[in-house]
């Protein structure tokens, strides 16, 4: 351990549990001109909150596992079962990518603008929304569907354009002379339609003319009540690349501590990030180039560095993903983390496992708890002490689980 370093959090159990009402954090969204408010899709701050399907924690974890399997399956030597489709450069999507554990932002599209709430995802390249008329199948979304015929700034993209060719394996030919896209996710959820342009309003003062996106005419799967998805991955067709001249391929976000609060998604450096940001190198992951690769070097629990050989982390590599809920670790690393965490939490009553989460506690009789600080060390001498809300997956007060899970093998 490091002398003088804080090694535990003492926090109220109630702060880990979601509140039934929304307490928006307005500061960031109001002072930065290129900032969107981030909302948990199924929390009280969301207009999608009236979803007829109640939040099911087991379903969240099952779908999270589906997304992870899809990510892992893109490796040619993977044995995780889900095979990459012919469109190998598709985003890391199972239906869960667009599932319950994710966050949404509301943007404006078209002239006059229509507000659309989209899931944001650093693992996806393509932004798409459902469009009228829906030729075959569209799911029910909360907001009125985007109708190109009512937008004066809408245009189709030609089949022969460079933009269309950048779809690569996500292109699906032509409809007349108009470029078409097709995405099929790992769980067979899909979106197909026209690849088009229109005016995108990030905020009233931040407008992107001729933003390229998918106008979905046939959308099936587990998309909830969102209007679609905003792709933030490292790809030619993502919003990051399309706005490179304006924002310099620079964006940031904050995910709130609970669904009862709001965060932000900001494009560009305008307004400044929080005062002290520590940077670790981004890397490209072989065969998964759309993802943002990072290097995990070690983990500490309660200020004590776990004894994990460095090769455990380096052999498989790692990515950061806004669409995966639970952090996946090499089994050797997970085992060391679990042992140290359980030892530090030995005074608390354990609870039954919850799907992939095997270290759960019953805090229903506690008002406050003391939790060891978990620290991730990344390349570049970056140490990140997790927030208490970043340590647990809370099903209920009587079942609060360590929010980590192992991969199948250290090499995976």
């Amino acid at each position: 351990g490091v002398e003088g370093k804080i090694t535990s959090h003492t926090t109220s159990v109630s702060s880990l549990l979601p509140s039934p009402s929304c307490s928006p954090s307005t500061s960031k969204a109001s002072i930065r001109k290129s900032t969107l408010e981030v909302i948990h899709k199924h929390g009280p701050c969301s207009t999608l909150f009236q979803d007829p399907n109640p939040l099911n924690h087991t379903k969240v974890l099952l779908r999270d596992e589906s997304r992870v399997k899809w990510i892992q399956s893109q490796s040619s030597n993977s044995s995780d079962g889900l095979k990459a489709s012919a469109a190998v450069s598709l985003p890391a999507k199972s239906g869960m990518t667009i599932g319950i554990g994710n966050y949404v932002v509301t943007i404006g599209l078209g002239t006059p603008k229509k507000d659309l709430t989209l899931e944001f995802d650093t693992g996806s390249p393509l932004t798409w929304t459902q469009c009228e008329p829906c030729n075959r199948s569209c799911y029910t979304q909360s907001e009125p569907m985007f109708n190109p015929s009512q937008s004066s700034s809408y245009s189709n993209i030609s089949c022969t354009s460079t933009s269309c060719s950048q779809l690569g394996g996500r292109g699906s030919g032509c409809s007349g002379s108009t470029c078409q896209y097709s995405i099929r996710y790992g769980d067979q959820s899909s979106s197909m339609g026209l690849f088009v342009t229109d005016k995108l309003m990030i905020t009233p003062t931040e407008v992107i003319d001729k933003f390229e996106f998918g106008c979905g005419k046939n959308n099936q799967g587990l998309f909830g009540r969102t209007a679609g998805l905003i792709g933030l991955s490292n790809d030619k067709i993502s919003i990051v690349e399309q706005t490179a001249a304006k924002y310099g391929k620079y964006f940031s976000y904050c995910l709130p501590s609970s669904p009862s609060y709001t965060g932000h998604l900001t494009f560009g450096k305008d307004g400044g990030a929080v005062s002290s940001v520590s940077f670790t190198p981004l890397s490209t992951v072989p065969r998964r180039s759309q993802f943002y690769g990072i290097s995990i070097l070690g983990i500490a629990v309660g200020g004590n560095r776990l004894s994990i050989p460095s090769t455990v982390f380096s052999s498989g590599g790692a990515i950061i993903d806004s669409g995966t809920v639970i952090t996946r670790l090499p089994p050797t690393a997970y085992s060391a983390l679990r042992t140290a965490f359980r030892n530090a939490m030995a005074s608390y009553t354990m609870a039954p496992a919850l799907n992939i989460l095997d270290t759960c506690y019953d805090f229903s009789k506690e008002s406050t708890i003391t939790v060891p600080v978990i620290t991730f060390s990344f390349a570049g001498r970056v140490d990140v002490d997790l927030d208490p809300n970043g340590i647990f997956f809370v099903a209920k007060a009587s079942q609060v689980c360590l929010a980590f899970a192992p991969n199948r093998a250290d090499s995976n």
Binding site: H264, V285, I319, P330
Partner: protein, 31 residues
């Protein structure tokens, strides 16, 4: 392949400097 998920990212300012090939973490990013 390890995956650093969104639960662990809560409350941090997560900065993607894609052009500069670096990723940043800042504490108390939502407040």
């Amino acid at each position: 392949l390890g995956i650093y998920g969104n639960t662990q990212q809560k409350t941090f300012e997560v900065v993607y400097d894609v052009a500069g090939r670096k990723l940043g973490f800042g504490s108390n990013g939502c407040s």
